[in-house]
Symmetry: C2
Subunit: 764 residues, 2 copies
């Protein structure tokens, strides 16, 4: 890459705000001091599935110190959701999972809140909880959401109950092709429910200004504008009278995205409490509450069947995904569709028949967790790919290279690929992990997994770049900073385009009254969509400056360049004006320099349809060692090769890779929710929900493949999500390489490893 | 006026936020609860003029509860000012008036602040205070500001000391014309120093975020962006790292304009305290402190001489204005220039020679108070005009009509007048006050005064109009709401242009991080400059909506109209899209609807130079009765006829007129600062500084003359300032009409009336 021509881009710089983040100086939602704020709390369902026969709040209301008790009766009779409106902010007639919010209290202390919550009497008629989506689909299963219609696209002959969304990839003739295949391999894979486990709890405070009729909510949310839209609609307030402010955020990983879905209505509940209490109210979820009440990465069960020729050419794939949406549809339409599409993989597959069923159960609701649907699909596809190679007696790298999609190919879902160096990532990963240097020690194995993940669809990001009268700039965006590129790559882009220094760029936090509208910090889009918007805004600002300076210097605007805090004539740099002087002049001519940029991925999508799309791809590889006595799996070495287009801030990209790998290893090795027969999560806290920590984090070698241009600024591709998709398959494949057993169910715990070893022994 | 075609404009509506303002629900700077904020206080000079030999803060720093003590040593060595940089934020080597800030303290309570301030030892070398500007001008007067150069435009032969600014109007040959005049009248008029007397005290709080290096200041200021620029420069912080937030404001009248000048450095002082104390700090000025430390309307002394023909045609005018700038130049360049220019009046004056000298003294600094310079000049000119008519034995109305400038005339300062119905205002005022219905009762008299006042110069205002996804709009402007049209006329303009209701429009307060840059809420410019910007922004937003809707409906954008919350085809209104639907669509195409407008008065000024300018003009008239035993003057009836172009919000315009008249009557009848020989203000509080109250406020009949179009939106003209200029001359002229004595010195107190009556008796 010709990074030499850039002053700032492609260099490693200190992230703005990084020190405050690490030292804890930053002000997070929980640190806000909101004068006169009450404490709030939510009464949650004690049943996974029940009808509500009545709620009596009379006694709770008389508890001294209680300012407001609310139930569904206090809110307009409006449901919300993504695609399917199946949820009230407080349960009205029925509860759908153990944790469903039923009532809420605002009071002068947390103790009073707890006391008042305990005094609310809810009369339930318990119903049998449906915990297994396969059972919930049975023709005679009771219907969980009676009000939700059958998905319009569900085939009429599919006699399935409780399906909230359906997705399919049907191309070619999979049945005929499968019949012709020399070898047909079929397997079933299962992934578990995990939580995004951001370390900052979900917090929201609300204040209602009665005189202005204005509701302000401070919240830890990735999508403040969708939160605003939903709060306004659900509480029947004009959008202009709802203000959402997001302070510093301590992680999200998608788990705080999706408007109010992810937090289980937290923002409208705290807003309603503040309105009724006539005092500000703050609600902080504790870890156990967060685990049962907020959204999760859905569990899946995937039957996958592939037909190949004897020499290893894939002819057909059939698959059926059962996707556990949970008590509400949540984000399952998006996540389930992604998983369904990705079961076709990144291989040449002429004949495909995949059905994805997103199914209601009485458990936590599906949200968007880093690469939603993608991790589940990558685990199934890449484990299965190894099984096929193994069954054919082929080297798994060779088998992949033989079938892998190449630029110019179309994916099974019909997308023409352009700059997608899948092969290069696999070859590099094989080199770096030492694939050719085997044999390994006993019980050691190497595994690979490839994947491909485009930046999320949906509307783009908007940005304003204001050039102040001293040449410093203020950048306004609608994306929140929770660890993505906002305080690193974005200032670099502005500084580069305006010829100023990084210190001259301040990026403001999100406040929906003031910030430009944005769909949210989701879908690996900060650098891509917001970076493009910021770049366009900076260029727009530069053009405004050039226009004025050109007139002043008597030259054409196209003769100017912005460098070293000056705007100068390219051919004779002595003819110049400091950017501060130019900005001051513009203040008095146009009002001030406000550059505006909007990046519209839809426009790109149309172009990509023609010229081809270039999603980011990756191959991960790991060397693991299995302790056959204890079942413990140690990842000794980990290589992550990522196609990133252009790394604007290489350290930031590596940080994303390392974080994503560890998160993926968590899902691979230890994270899981466990339920009792009543749908109760028995490990809701970090005491027994095992998180990946230093003891399982390997040394990670990150390799960035540049030069295959994406649609982000300067060719950058999104990197936030794709990084955590491969680890479960990588580890499962390495275990298979090490000890010859195929683990098909996550997490790959010592118990399961030992059980698999025992099963293998027994089979022999 | 064709107001019928408008849905909202020209109608009377309830002002947004009016109820909160009247009921005290609004949040003003003093109501802010800033967590952990310390109290701050300022040590002010006890001498009107002295050298500082040393400041010892050691003892103050050891007072328990003190967090910071600052002096000039804690700030960069940078002076500030308008045109003349003559002031430090804290006095460094010299104090220039009694009230000059010398040091400041932040502590845990107001008592501790007071104690610590009392422990700061300042060693002064007192200098003789110069309190009279005429004495200060004498060739042998000591120089107050040794560092300030003589004004560049001051004639070389003018051997005057302590002149900080000089202005002149020299046209024709006044000396020769005066020599040819049949009658030459010369008089001297004096106006007194008054304070803007907004009821909300000047308050500022500051908080410094060390991690981000960001200084946030909440202040009651009319010009937050200039405050930001000056705080950044004086504390050497990037502009992007200074944030000024203005909550609701309880009045200003110009007295809180001019960046940090008006508050006597309050914002940088509180900012510096917060930085040093590492805690937020709030300073509230009390009334006495406010009177001595903030800016004032300058006292003037005007020698004015006019030559007329026997039949009452004015041939020449000579005048000399001595304008008391006070301890610093402050806003005297602007106010003094306005006064100088206006001494030429609104009459045909072919030969003019006017000199204006703005002179340092050791008193409060000149600021901008409602119509700065204009009230002083109008008093002198219009009193003098009556004297001329009287000397010629002419009716003062007839004399004015004979000499008055008419559309097509050029003012003595060279401006071509276009839509200026001066005559019409005078004729209407004479009718309404009953001028032709005399004789009056004993000791009753009628007085008139005309005036003319264009909206202030300087850069225009910028505005953003965002259309939210439900069709509600959010308006961002840089002008603060302190009683001007922001919450009435601006929403009407947006609603009119976008075809929505007033409730759909929310105007945000000013926060310099987010609001578009603006020079300040000064110069009668809210409706004019900001109204134009808002109109342009609304039209820009409408165009964005039309573009999308036109494509959707398959029509041309020019076929559309915005009405009843719909965007529809004018010719077939059934073809339409609700504005909410259109706005939602734009969100996904352009990012969101953000209309932007900027009004540049400079561009208008160029056009006006050619086509003529149309400043607002007015005639006021009053019927007064003088109690010849006590000297008390009662205003029995008051008529104010104002040329307003188009009254967007008639009630708002009337409110401005009524407020301005009462403020002008205060200066006419009772308000004044009184000094002892050491330059000490002996009546700094409302106990003995007499404000106009209900007991002197007459019934005011407001007559709005519409149809003479100004440069504001829909032809509106600024109305904020012109309203308070005539009352002093009106009352003085009415007193003369009533009892035949000419009072030439404001205020027209009972003592002065009795003294004048006695002088008259003695003269006979």
């Amino acid at each position: 890459m010709a990074t030499k021509e850039y002053i700032h881009l492609g260099k490693n710089v200190t992230r703005q705000g990084g020190v405050e983040r690490v030292t804890g100086q930053g002000i997070y939602a929980i640190d806000l001091i909101i004068p006169n704020a009450l404490k709030g709390g939510i009464l949650r369902s004690r049943h996974a599935h029940a009808r509500i026969l009545g709620i009596d709040t009379a006694e709770a209301e008389t508890v001294p110190g209680v300012y407001a008790v609310i139930t569904a009766r206090d809110a307009p009779d409006i449901r919300y959701g993504r695609q399917v409106n199946d949820k009230y902010i407080l349960a009205r007639d029925k509860v759908y999972f153990l944790g469903d919010p039923v009532a809420a209290v605002a009071a002068d202390s947390q103790e009073t809140v707890r006391l008042a919550l305990s005094k609310i009497k809810v009369e339930y008629e318990p119903l049998a909880p449906l915990l297994d989506p396969e059972e919930a689909m049975l023709p005679d299963a009771p219907i969980i959401h009676e009000e939700v219609p059958i998905p319009a696209n569900l085939p009429e002959d599919a006699n399935f109950k409780n399906v909230c969304h359906y997705a399919a990839v049907h191309t070619g003739d999979a049945d005929s092709a499968m019949a012709e295949a020399a070898v047909v391999i079929e397997e079933t894979y299962e992934t578990q429910m995990v939580h995004a486990q951001y370390l900052e709890p979900k917090v929201a405070s609300a204040e209602y200004d009665e005189a202005q009729g204005k509701l302000t909510i401070w919240t830890s949310a990735q999508s403040p504008f969708p939160v605003r839209t939903e709060v306004a609609r659900l509480l029947q307030i004009a959008v202009s009278k709802v203000r959402i402010i997001v302070p510093n955020m301590g992680g999200g990983f998608g788990g705080k995205s999706g408007g109010i879905v992810s937090g289980g209505s937290l923002e409208p509940i705290v807003g309603l409490l503040a309105i009724k209490a006539r005092r500000p109210v703050t609600i902080v979820l504790d870890k156990a509450e967060e685990s049962i009440a907020t959204t999760v990465r859905a569990a899946t069960k995937t039957w996958i069947q592939t037909g190949v020729t004897r020499d290893g050419r894939i002819l057909a794939r059939k698959a059926r995904l059962i996707f556990d949406a949970g008590g509400y549809a949540g984000m399952s339409s998006l996540a389930g569709m992604m998983a369904t599409n990705m079961l076709a993989g990144w291989y040449r597959l002429p004949n495909v028949h995949i059905d994805g069923y997103m199914v209601y159960t009485n458990k936590q609701t599906c949200g968007s967790v880093r690469g939603p649907g993608g991790l589940q699909a990558t685990f199934s596809v890449e484990s299965h790919t190894d099984t096929i190679a193994s069954r054919l007696g082929m080297d798994p790298v060779e088998f992949r290279l033989k079938n892998m999609l190449k630029p110019g190919d179309r994916t099974p879902t019909g997308h023409l690929l352009r700059d997608v160096p899948l092969e290069e990532t696999l070859v590099r990963a094989a080199e770096e992990i030492g694939w050719r240097k085997r044999p390994l020690k006993a019980n050691q194995g190497i595994g690979f997994a490839c994947t491909m993940w485009g930046e999320g669809a949906g509307p783009g990001g908007s940005a304003l770049v204001k050039v102040n009268e001293d040449g410093s700039t203020t950048v306004m965006i609608g994306k929140v900073d929770y660890g993505t590129a906002i305080k690193s790559a974005l200032p670099m882009i502005v500084a580069e385009e305006l010829g100023i220094m990084l210190d001259d760029v301040s990026v403001l936090g999100v406040d929906t009254d003031n910030s430009p509208w944005d769909f949210g910090t989701v879908g690996s889009r900060t650098t891509m969509a917001c970076g493009n918007a910021v770049r366009l805004a900076a260029v727009d600002a530069r053009n405004q400056l050039f226009e004025v300076v050109a007139r002043r210097l008597g030259v054409g605007a196209d003769e100017l360049e912005a460098k070293d805090k000056q705007i100068r004539v390219r051919a004779s740099p002595d003819k110049m004006l400091p950017i501060a002087a130019a900005a001051s002049m513009v203040h008095f001519i146009f009002g001030e320099v406000i550059g505006r940029g909007y990046y519209n991925p839809e426009a790109d999508a149309a172009e990509e349809k023609e010229k081809g799309t270039s999603p980011g791809c990756a191959t991960h590889a790991a060397l693991v060692e299995v302790d056959v006595d204890t079942g413990r799996v140690d990842v000794l070495k980990y290589v992550a090769v990522h196609d990133v287009g252009f790394a604007i801030h290489p350290d930031g990209v590596e940080g994303q890779v390392e974080g994503g790998v560890v998160q993926g290893l968590g899902q691979a090795l230890c994270e899981q929710f466990i339920f009792d027969e009543n749908g109760r999560t028995i490990n809701p806290t970090f005491v027994d929900y095992l998180m990946p920590t230093a003891n399982i984090s390997p040394e990670i070698q990150t390799v960035l493949v540049e030069g295959y241009m994406g649609t982000g600024p300067y060719g950058a591709k999104g990197i936030g999500e794709v990084t955590c998709l491969p680890p479960p398959a990588v580890v499962a494949n390495a275990i298979h390489d090490a000890i010859g057993v195929r683990l098909s169910k996550l997490a790959l715990t010592p118990e399961r490893v030992l059980r698999a070893l025992k099963d293998k022994e027994e089979a022999h």
